[in-house]
Amino acid sequence: MESAKSIEERIFDPQRSIHGVARSPRDLAGAMLAPLILDSLIVGFAGPLLGLWRVIFQAALSWVRLEAEVRMETFRFIPAWKVEMPCIDLLAGSPTAYQWAWILYGLGLAWLVTRLIPETWMPLRYGIRFLCVVQLTSVVFFACWPGRFPYGVGDFVRTQVYTGFTFLLLLPPVYGMSYFILDFSLSRKLTLLLLAVAYTAVAAPVQIVTCAILTHFGSLALIPLFYLAFGPLVYVSWMVAFYSWGVSWRPRRAAT
């Protein structure tokens, strides 16, 4: 059996208990200014950026051969700022009895599968069950109030575009408060931030239009799942993924 001494030699770094991060006025200024500058750029280029989202929507729709209009709607993002955001006029109906039944069977099957998942994969079991519960709310709603679902695909896209763009604006200050305070060179910090923003700027509209297309084919019953489980949750996952990747990079210098 491994001795305490051996474990200590393997794990213990006497300096890590007092490790800090060497900070300079330049570092702190960078932590505040870089996000501010990038947010200003996002705001300044909101038009072209959201225009790109419109192009992505149009490309995706034509790829699946769906004829739907992608138009720009004026949206008051904050009281003093109006933004033109893309919106898709895509039709989707309440689930037919056939679709409703298939969704229910799918949920039952998914739940059964979770019972077969070995304990080693318990988080997967919880994840699938979480999604099942979310989708089940939709099944129940459409069973009890079939004609009263208050949203269409257009509403869904509108909200997701708003949420996605909000998230894009939040990324720089969040990274400024969390990643820019760590001991990495300014170039690495900026690189990570730009990569995360660029990824979100492309991935968000792709996700949105994918969900919209799936809703069109699968019925409005899928909107709750896409909205509640695949919207902000996915954005935050990307944020965490980029952050953790950035933290794994080599630090600038020995910590003091």
């Binding site: 305490a4 794990i11 988080p123 408060m177 509640l228 965490v240």
Partner: protein
Amino acid sequence: MILLLQLVLVGIMGILALYVGRHFSFTWNRVLGDQRFPYMGFGDFELPTVTILVPAHNEEAVIAGSLMALLELDYPADRCLIVPVNDRSRDRTREIIDGIAKEHPGRIRPFHRETGRPGKAAALRDITPALASEVIIVFDADYLPVPGLLRNLVAPFCDPEVGAVMGRVVPMNVSRNLLTRMLDLERSGGYQVDQQARMNLGLIPQYGGTVGGVRRSALEEIGGWDDSILAEDTDVTFRLYMKGWSVVYQNGCECYEEVPETWKVRERQIMRWAKGHNHVMFRQLGNLLRSRMLPFWKKLDGALLLGIYMLSPVTILGWVIAVFLFYANHNHLTSSAVALFSILAFSSVGNFALFFEIGAAVHLDGYRNRVRLLPLGLIYFLVSLFSVSRAICAQLLIDFPTRRKLVWHKTARYRPRGAS
């Protein structure tokens, strides 16, 4: 009805935002602020007499290793007594303890407990009156302290205001599987950032029940160990603070433990912690807020610390309300999105540590590869969230109304049986 639900959701968002702010503050302080290590490097002081208690219930797999490591401690033998507390073991624990005690006369004094209330707190309560040392140090039976640990751990007790001290717990079986790696991340965040930041800011660093110790006179002043509480460590922490004692966290005092290697064991562990911690919250929150010994910020931090496990059911409640509003509230889709986003944004980052905290901790620890597992914290978090919520619901709906006694279950051990 809709308005009421929206107000509740806003309230929940407010609570979550408070915790977000708290953890951000801790991260910033740990990374950027002045660090407090007031007792580091203390060499020239009279070492107090110490009794090391090692509660053990069916610990035949690990007790020998722990006792041998304790015998190697760099501490005057005449000022240190090791007392393994055999608590109603049915395996070879007693035999192993007696065997090692016989080989080291005068160093180890076994205490065998055959009757009485089950549990660690009860065992500690039974043995404490028989002790004469100034300081009581507690190690769990699977812990492996390194030789230099004890001197650094007891150094704060040269300050007469210090009532308890806590070291850092580090998993030794990190490489075993994904779960152990995730738990190591969690431990890093909890100790390297959270506890140290609370030490820096003069808030509430917590005595954690192992790799820590209590001044015997302070323990007597607060009435000793409470054997009706599962989380006797949290309980002692708050009772000490409310009597004017301080608790010191020593980040450099590392001791190694086994973390759960299976999800089932991890579930049981966190459900036990949640119930025990909440039990202390229900008992002590009012006393804490009324206490005249503590300034406002300590009371606030203490209250947030006590309420930490309640975040899980509160988060689920927020989700349920948000879902309901989603279906019912056509005109407020956007506000629901923002609300849900806020909840999910916090929820995605872990049980009670923001991923920033963990990221910063791992950065300070220097584990560059392991931090890439952080995104998996989302799924890992789901397990904790639902396990804790299940435990708290059972506690509120079954345990308290029926006055069911909380039973302590030991965590599984993974070292080969009989290893020494």
